[in-house]
């Protein structure tokens, strides 16, 4: 049995005809050839597969492609290109926000959507007061990014890059 699904990825519509078991991650990588999103653990623990759906970051390994008919999907390929990096990508390059690079597209998708959560005023587990203004401290960045692991432990560079990109974002 296969299912027909229309996936809207980086503003392009793709018709998919796949086994219902196909995870969104496998659909992106194997059916659409968008290999920027990575498969690390395939169980939602590492964050390498993070993409943005309807403006919110999720683990693409823990959802089925057929559940996302018509949703607006953004992958790392839609965030920037080598010729035109997004501010977050540029900050990761300038601040050594990676070493081997395997987790990086997940880190960047996650961080990009995380800044929107901050703009929307969402508190985190380390936010002192649930109501009122938010300050994106390094502790806030680490807490909000805990769903993205980096085995090379480039965390200091990652936090620095996100801090810098968040400031550019405010300009």
């Amino acid at each position: 049995m296969t299912l027909k699904t229309t996936l809207t990825v980086n503003d392009q519509e793709h018709d998919l005809d796949a086994d219902p078991r196909t995870s969104l991650l496998d659909a992106l990588r194997h059916h659409l050839g968008l290999t920027g999103s990575k498969k690390g653990c395939d169980h939602g623990q590492c964050g390498a597969c993070t993409i943005i759906i309807n403006g919110r970051r999720i683990n693409s390994c823990l959802t089925l492609a057929c559940m996302h008919d018509g949703d607006k999907i953004t992958t790392i390929e839609g965030i920037g290109t080598p010729e035109a990096l997004s501010a977050m990508q540029d900050a990761f390059v300038r601040n050594d926000g990676f070493q081997c690079g395997y987790c990086t597209s997940g880190q960047i998708c996650s961080a990009t959507a995380m800044l929107d959560e901050v703009k929307d005023g969402w508190p985190s587990n380390v936010t002192e007061a649930l109501e009122g203004d938010l300050e994106l401290t390094d502790a806030e960045i680490s807490e909000r990014m805990s769903g993205n692991l980096c085995r090379c432990s480039a965390y200091p560079g990652i936090v620095k890059a996100i801090r810098e990109a968040s400031k550019e974002d405010q300009r």
Partner: protein
């Protein structure tokens, strides 16, 4: 993963009909798909309820809050009313999982997530929950994260939710639509059943039942605290957690609602603990007495013995903070 039929529910009645015919309901899928990949769960058929109109958070006639079953953990934690009037719930949600998972996980699904016991998760191991009657390796195995209260000789699994612990302290009710179209409401405490000799049965839900909402009663002025003790400070399950909604009047504890995570097969609440506190002046000896009541029947299995003193210390610390803040 074993193959399955996939259907998208057009209405809650449609979802219930599919479920009654044997389909497993999928919402966020963050736990179910993980279990399906490992073949711990292998449903023949899935019914996807994500397009149903269950995403609203609204005020009830008596000033409480009705949370649709498909409200995501993120949206619930960030909701203005929840942050203001049900702080313990925001705090518990924010202490759970990761940003990505909270964006996908739903209110109904969070309540029904399965234990993270390593033996349940490993189909090569016997497990009375996964395969009734096969035995329990956790009793004498790696049981550091497992339960000390409400267990049986057949199962010592814990319920992993943070959200449900806060909801338990908030006297939440669960709204259930049944396959015949009727709706019933049960206390969250009554949704779950203890393992006894049927650890594979975790709730009172019948095939065709669909959780449509969680209802919180009107919030009263009180101090809200959620304290979670875990092996790392983010993105880890609770070893022990305490949700407390406490008020103090005239130097005495006027109300105390306490629920516990990481200790039992369900979010744990023991009214006798609360009764021992109400009307009393806060003191460390009083808090010790409350912990005595909570832990009277606690039973460790070796590696998780530490949870008994840890639960005592965490409860006392939470009660001290809550009563100091409330005064």
């Amino acid at each position: 993963m074993k193959s399955f039929d996939y259907n998208r529910a057009a209405s809650s009645a449609d979802a219930a009909a599919h479920a009654k015919a044997g389909a497993t309901i999928i919402a966020g899928g963050t736990n179910l798909l993980d279990l399906m990949k490992l073949e711990v769960m292998s449903p023949d058929s899935l019914v996807d309820i994500n397009r149903l109109d269950l995403k609203e958070i609204s005020t009830t006639d008596d000033g409480g809050l009705r949370i649709g079953a498909l409200v995501t953990n993120s949206d619930l934690a960030a909701h203005e009313t929840v942050r203001r009037d049900y702080e313990v719930l925001s705090r518990a949600l924010l202490a759970g999982a990761s940003g990505q998972l909270r964006n996908k996980a739903t209110t109904g699904g969070n309540l029904l997530q399965r234990t993270r016991c390593g033996y349940f998760y490993d189909p090569a191991m016997p497990c009375n929950k996964r395969e009734p009657g096969s035995g329990c390796q956790a009793m004498e195995g790696f049981n550091r994260i497992l339960a000390i209260l409400g267990t049986s000789e057949h199962c010592i699994a814990t319920h992993p939710s943070d959200m449900a612990v806060a909801m338990m302290a908030l006297d939440a009710e669960v709204e259930i639509e049944t396959a015949d179209g009727s709706t019933r409401t049960v206390a969250l405490d009554d949704l779950y059943v203890l393992p006894g000799d049927t650890p594979h049965i975790e709730t009172i839900l019948q095939p065709g039942d669909l959780i449509t909402a969680v209802i919180l009663p009107r919030s009263k002025p009180a101090t809200h605290l959620y304290r979670k003790v875990r092996d790392r400070s983010s993105y880890a399950f609770a070893l022990v957690s305490v949700a407390a909604v406490v008020s103090v009047e005239g130097g005495k504890i006027a109300s105390a609602k306490l629920a516990f995570g990481g200790l039992a097969p369900k979010p744990w609440r023991n009214r006798a603990v609360e009764d021992a506190l109400i009307g009393q002046e806060p003191s460390m000896s009083l808090f010790d007495k409350a912990a005595d009541i909570l832990l009277a029947d606690a039973q460790g299995h070796g590696a998780n013995d530490f949870k008994i003193p840890l639960a005592r210390r965490t409860l006392k610390a939470v009660l001290r903070s809550a009563t100091e803040t409330a005064q």
